[in-house]
Symmetry: C2
Subunit: 513 residues, 2 copies
């Protein structure tokens, strides 16, 4: 615990058991470390993901042996796709107990290695501090890693631990001037066999206000089409920021957006591929004959590279910026995805953090909020639904002075609904907008798109969340979060504003037709 604090890690999201009791007891001796309890490990790891994205440094997690880690793997998968650094402490049996096949015996290394690129098992008490310091190094490098220290009970309870000194992770790699020059040439259309235009696809670390502004200058000056990756871990948006178009989720949308380009420049983003494969459709989204040129890759200093590129090709020409006066008006009428998005956009407080797990409704929300008050937007990066509410927990712990708005699809919410309790316990300033369409709506689209026939009398119920309808207000009440149901769009706007003015969490249920 002292090594973590010395290394700059001072929040530990935890769901401990017997084998972690010494780590829990250590919280009494190390008051600099904040322990935050989750009722389920997916809450713990998702909170660490949200925390890391907003704090820019890792949180620790404390998990109970292999099965505890297993419950956290899905959100560690999302975190790994977001390149969020996390330090997992996973308790294990004492070494003398490992070979006895006790009920909780499992291969923790195997669980951890599915999502964690750095795994160590210090065997002695005096190895634990150095291992933890190294784990922080891995979790603070560029790109950041998910690091796991397997903490055996005997290493935890034996005397002789020592605090290891901090060793910061590797900094971002500076992009060579030659690469920047080559990209500038590509943007100026210097390809010999021109057949179309240029697109600049930005992602990863470049999605700060400074990065998107530099990208906007490049695009405005060169005529390149500016596109942002489909699932940003975090992007600065809203009034005063550049508003790039978003690469569509559906393959045919994305293919249309990239149609007619002969050069695709990547900054922080990777080559775009469809989320799923579909029969008879290509998985790669760029035209097959387009040149793909990387300005910066994950781990590089993409903002510096984009800024240098902008200075080279755009000079003093400004980027077009979103304007608050263009945000949607406060809506009236029945609740729908469109009026809900307008209500969020019209009322969003300055500097909010939006955790977006709205799934099939996400594009509507993104469009509506492009000109809202400036905010950060966090998306589900790895497709493992159930990261939205936990991310909101972590973002709120990282940024206690900012309002977090969780745009939450009801089906996805049910994977980690226990996150509401941690919001209540910690008094986190989170407004959950529950989009209750009572269906896995995305699957109703996808069923047709993959060429499957459905949804029939027997398959249909597997895509529906009706019968019985889930009552999100009751669930929130059960977990100690004040909740109300919006009767229409104007009421929703009122409830949103009231939640922003009220410290602590609120859930607003929005029944959708």
């Amino acid at each position: 615990m002292r090594t973590l604090v010395a290394s700059g890690v001072d929040v530990c999201f935890a769901n401990p058991g017997t084998s972690e009791m010494h780590a829990v007891a250590a919280l009494d001796a190390v008051p600099e470390m904040r322990g935050v309890l989750g009722l389920f490990e997916g809450v713990v790891t998702g909170a660490a993901d949200g925390y890391g994205r907003m704090a820019g440094r890792p949180a620790a997690t404390l998990l109970h042996l292999g099965p505890g880690m297993a419950n956290g793997l899905a959100n560690l998968h999302n975190a790994s796709k977001a390149r969020t650094g996390i330090v997992n402490l996973v308790g294990d049996h004492a070494t003398s107990h490992k070979h006895l096949d006790a009920p909780l015996e499992s291969n923790i290394d195997a669980f951890a290695s599915t999502v964690s690129t750095w795994v160590r098992t210090p065997r002695r008490a005096d190895d634990v501090g150095p291992a933890v310091a190294e784990a922080v190094t891995a979790a603070t490098g560029r790109p950041a890693e998910i690091a796991t220290v397997i903490l055996r009970a005997d290493a935890a309870w034996t005397e002789g631990g020592r605090v290891a000194a901090a060793r910061p992770g590797a900094p971002a790699f500076p992009v060579p001037d030659a690469t920047i020059d080559a990209v500038a040439a590509a943007l100026r259309g210097e390809r010999s066999n021109r057949t179309g235009g240029v697109a600049l696809l930005i992602g990863g670390d470049t999605l700060t206000a400074a990065g998107t502004e530099a990208a906007g200058r490049v695009a405005a000056a060169t005529g390149a089409k500016l596109i942002v990756e489909t699932f940003p871990a975090r992007i600065a948006r809203g009034a005063g920021r550049v508003d790039p178009e978003r690469l569509g989720y559906f393959a045919e949308q994305a293919t249309a957006q990239l149609d007619g380009i002969d050069t695709l420049v990547l900054a922080g983003a990777v080559e775009p591929v469809s989320f799923f494969a579909y029969p008879g459709r290509p998985s790669k989204l760029a035209p097959p004959d387009a040149d793909i040129v990387a300005l910066s890759r994950p781990g590089d200093d993409g903002v510096a590279a984009l800024s240098a590129l902008a200075d080279l090709v755009a000079g003093d020409a400004p980027a077009p910026l979103a304007r608050l006066e263009l945000r949607p008006a406060r809506p009236t009428g029945a609740s729908s995805v469109a009026t809900t998005a307008a209500a969020v956009a019209a009322t969003l407080p300055e500097n909010a953090i939006i955790c977006d797990e709205s799934v099939s409704a996400s594009a509507v929300f993104a469009d509506a909020t492009a000109h809202a008050a400036p905010h950060d937007w966090l998306r589900l990066t790895g497709g493992a639904i159930g990261d939205g509410l936990p991310m909101a927990v972590g973002a709120a712990v990282a940024c206690p002075d900012r309002r977090v708005v969780a745009l939450q699809a009801d089906g996805s919410a049910m994977y980690t609904i226990q996150a509401l309790w941690t919001m209540a316990r910690e008094g986190l300033d989170v407004t959950v907008v529950m989009l209750s369409n009572r269906a896995y709506a995305i699957l109703n689209y996808e069923m047709r798109r993959v060429g499957a026939t459905g949804a029939g009398d027997r398959s249909g119920p597997l895509l529906s969340l009706d019968n019985p309808a889930i009552d999100a207000v009751a669930l929130a009440t059960g977990f100690g979060v004040p909740a109300e149901r919006a009767v229409d769009a104007a009421h929703l706007a009122d409830l949103l504003e009231r939640s922003y003015a009220t410290p602590g969490p609120t859930l607003i249920d929005v029944p959708l037709a």
Copy 2:
């Protein structure tokens, strides 16, 4: 789907996504297969565990790629420790899409292999049927395995699938006569250097009414101490059945129970070890110099072996059986673990199935119900809390004519509380008794036992579920399950009886001091 049905697997617990849409659509064409939706994968796999324990044949699960399987691993761990056969179908990307690192790309084989001893990835449509038939073989062998078929999207959507013929799993291995004779000699005290008594530890497949009766005859005739393993997957108990003492959870209890024996006979059980290691205590629970003799091991036909042994050593002498008139009286007074256990024992309907995830209260419930109406008792086998409510779902699907009573600790319930919704949707006859002590009570014991100092001002809250208190009645209402709160023990007994008389699920919240 047709291969599963032909192989005797006709229930599929499912939480599907896009890559499983063809499997979902197949339900329309194969009405013999019952699809049961869970809101979270831990519900799905835990239900398959409960189903398999009660049906004696495997259920299938349908899971969404690596993260979907990850969410189900903890309860697959429990199922593997219970030796419950399960056939997992896990969707994956099309083969052409695998190398593109799409957001949901992961190493499913690595996830599966943590808990699954049999994993295959059929690459072509016509390989799927045979792979599924082989998976059922693994899941129906003795001991049963957890088998996983990774179903790539292109294998699912390509024409050419074929139905493979059923191939039943290997039967239980008959125990050789020589082994039975040797155990008979040990029980008769024929060890040369006698220093103490004999204990017969039964577990696994031997815990049927016939198996425990044979064990009871052996013990009565030979004076051996009859003990049942701490965490049985399923044991027949109550009036008319043998009531062996239970090996204690805490190491010092178990050591005391085995103190003074020089011979430990194992039938279906494995050598007993403590759940966790503790500083300065041995992990093995039997006296170090005791002979350990196995009558039958997991995979053997333990009931036949015990019956043959009983015939050899006990002749016609009967086993002592529990008697209904000895059950506790209907309690009055304030709610406590003791009065709650008495209320359950006094009211339990004939042939009920008890799913026990009462954790720190389990021993009290087991004592109180020893003479209750005959019932089956299912325990958490692998220590990964969050199996109780899902097991109840699966047991109720397997046995629609029996009442399922879930004895559920509140902390453990929160891992898979979404199981309530499936109970409501399927109209399952489950009575959930929620033991609301608002704490991880077991950890308050364990904190001291592992020698950690706590719980202080900062560590204490990580073991508490207060602040805010969880309202289980509201949660049940949110998931569509009728719920009430017991105000005292007599009220609880009334609510229990009313729930048994009412089709479908009920949750009864029991606040404990």
